[in-house]
Symmetry: none
Subunit: 313 residues, 3 copies
């Protein structure tokens, strides 16, 4: 009996497939965005840790530094099979970019559709020397443009990461389990959205998430959310993760992660519904609403541009 | 950005990879055999359900009818990545054989090893007509021998399945979630083994498991185990699953599944230890011990034969 | 007891909210009492550990010593959001009392109702010196009566704890994860109740639970239950947790926890149904029934008294 496909498994690709269960989804049967984010991160962590240890040298663990903005193109449903595939798409000296694709397959009808495309950045942390970042073995590109484009994405994320206000000056150090943290963040955002519009809601997109400071074992994390902006058919929710080091040498509370989640409200045929507009009272709220509007318009403009460029090809 | 390898995903193969977590394992860090069995069954259920719906006709769900005897060649550890790959290896008119391979990968060192090879039989149950078994689309074989050999395995499992004492005459109908049930069975067997030898124990093999009767939603299941046989370095534990239909038209308790698990005791270097011999008191116990000895000697003889045939090739 | 206000979030208050999922509930959609107990205990453990480490000195973990009698005022349902809030209500030199409130929110309608109020006692155990109980920083009371009443509750629980038969003379030492243990206890009680009346059943209350002896990592626990008493519309089930230390210096089996759970049977409109009366055969069973009747009448009397005192205010 031959080993089916085992060799193909081990050449820079990773697959993960599983049936979506009732507790992966909300009561309308739509799989939580957080469940998908967790699956994406697990695949990314495996493939980048494997790659970073593929040469002789310090053993290391790939730690999540950043998730690029992710769109949820179509909600997945209970009973469908979610396929996650991950591939390393760029390496700098100290970081790895992983491209992850998520597909939903209805195994009864055979219908398949892409539900997500995500890009994640990992940094290899030495297991022997705490805090030391190890070197990443370079990958081979099929075409020179791939390296060029990767470099651009690398420079861009580096810039954005340094602009965010909660950055850590020393080094990027991720949370113990970033997948679980993102799942919690999505859950909080979902509760805020459901309270606001009292209908079936699903994650439409997640802003880039930067992991600034490590959440250590034994920490207590508090995840909180507030709605910042509403368009006609979407809601933006800002989510914060704060960590308390209860039992350590130094007790402190710090902001570990923050991100913007966009939710839409769906009717029974999975079509977007209008959402109630946010009532603004304080100056702070008005300011946050304007900032949210800015992000909304910017994303809309980018989408139109990329749609145009696709049409012109 | 191209979709990495998505097409390769959809040609009769299925991959599933995940990192083994502390709660997949016992306190010595060895992943429970039950965790592996559950992963194997999930992959088998996905690939066979997909195949059985690949032609026009009644939509159906592939229900587990039988797991062939499975050896655990090497225990998996926390932090390793488990890779499950599944492939359809034979189809009869009403059943599908799935071959599943499990590999452990240490992503820090790159070392890989096969930990399990399993064969599972599924039967497609119609979703529209409860109890109806639908037809299985035939697969293409690369070589004619493959079909011949598959047919032999098919006849053999059919025979064995009809010989077992708890069979249901009407039709094969599996448990709601057979993977979870097998995980519970392994857990009970592990407790019986640990109580007996009070050391670190791991699953060495599982006898063929036949799923005779459906365990319905809302049933209470009782999983019980008893040690039946000890050799110098192994223990055989018989495990029963009984189901109670509490809230239904007819209240009854019935034997849903039973199987033999073989456990070994390991020292700190993962070498097998001698196990205390079973003390036999009743005639029943002596009879069961002799039957267990028969299974043990038969398995040993088969292994020697297959080792010889490998040497001669 | 008032519901603690949102502003004081970070000064001795803790909030936790999450959506109830299908696997939190039984097939009728009612969330298991055990799921609620686990959420209550997690909030209690966090807030008391945080408080006990708020002053310089030995770092410690707050260990659950006792849960006061808890009523389940109304069952929670799948899709509702459960809100747990916890507040420290009394401190003695070596123990902390935490008041926990649980509310159910239907986020679609906005309706909210209190489902539980619980009081838990924690004892801070030093991390550096195993077995040493550290000192608890005193809290500030808004009114002097609060301290007086807290002291009465403290004396009362101390007395009751010392009266129970399985107490450990040396020191209070909780189970590794008391929340998980309580969830298992509720599950066993629920099976006993469902077998007896074969209908949809829900937890109505839990007797005070005392944690006498630690359940160590690697222990095998056996949770068993027996019905002790039935009134017209309720069933009392006694649940035992026994621990086996399999792999240690001393092998023994000991009673770790025991408690009485009261269950009611509900019809489709969530109204209580009459329950079949317990058939008593042995003298032991008759004795236990009479003791159960005593507890039942005592609780009933207490409830009537507190209802009267509320009317008179």
């Amino acid at each position: 009996m031959r080993l089916p496909g085992v060799r193909r498994l081990l050449e820079g690709l990773l697959f993960h497939s599983r049936i979506m269960r009732p507790d992966d989804a909300n009561i309308a049967g739509n799989v939580h965005g957080g469940t998908i984010l967790k699956m994406i991160e697990e695949a990314g962590a495996i493939i980048s840790t494997r790659h970073c240890n593929s040469q002789a040298g310090d053993k290391c663990v790939a730690a999540l530094a950043r998730v690029e903005r992710t769109d949820f193109l179509s909600p997945m449903c209970i009973g469908e099979v979610g396929h996650v595939s991950a591939e390393i798409s760029y390496t700098s000296r100290h970081s790895v970019e992983v491209q992850v694709n998520v597909m939903a397959e209805n195994i009864l009808t055979g219908a398949k559709r892409v539900t997500n495309r995500a890009a994640l950045w990992y940094v290899p942390l030495s297991l022997a020397n705490v805090g030391r970042i190890t070197e990443v073995p370079p990958i081979q590109y099929e075409k020179p443009e791939q390296e060029e484009e990767g470099k651009k994405r690398y420079e861009n994320q580096k810039l954005e990461r340094f602009e965010t206000k909660y950055r850590n000056d020393e080094y990027i150090a991720p949370v113990v389990n970033p997948g679980v943290t993102m799942k919690l963040m999505d859950e909080v955002a979902g509760i805020v959205a459901a309270r606001h519009c009292k209908t079936n809601i699903v994650t439409a997109s997640v802003d880039a998430i930067n992991f600034h400071r490590k959440i250590q074992k034994g920490c207590i994390i508090t995840v909180s959310g507030r709605m910042t902006f509403t368009s006609n058919k979407s809601m933006e929710i800002e989510v914060f993760v704060d960590a308390d080091t209860l039992v350590g040498d130094t007790q402190e509370r710090y902001r570990a992660v923050s991100a913007f989640f966009t939710y839409v409200s769906l009717n029974k045929d999975a079509k977007p519904l209008p959402v109630p507009q946010l009532v603004l009272e304080t100056e702070e709220e008005k300011k946050r609403f304007e900032e949210g509007k800015g992000r909304y318009l910017q994303t809309k403009a980018k989408r139109q541009m990329s749609a145009q460029s696709l049409t012109q090809q």
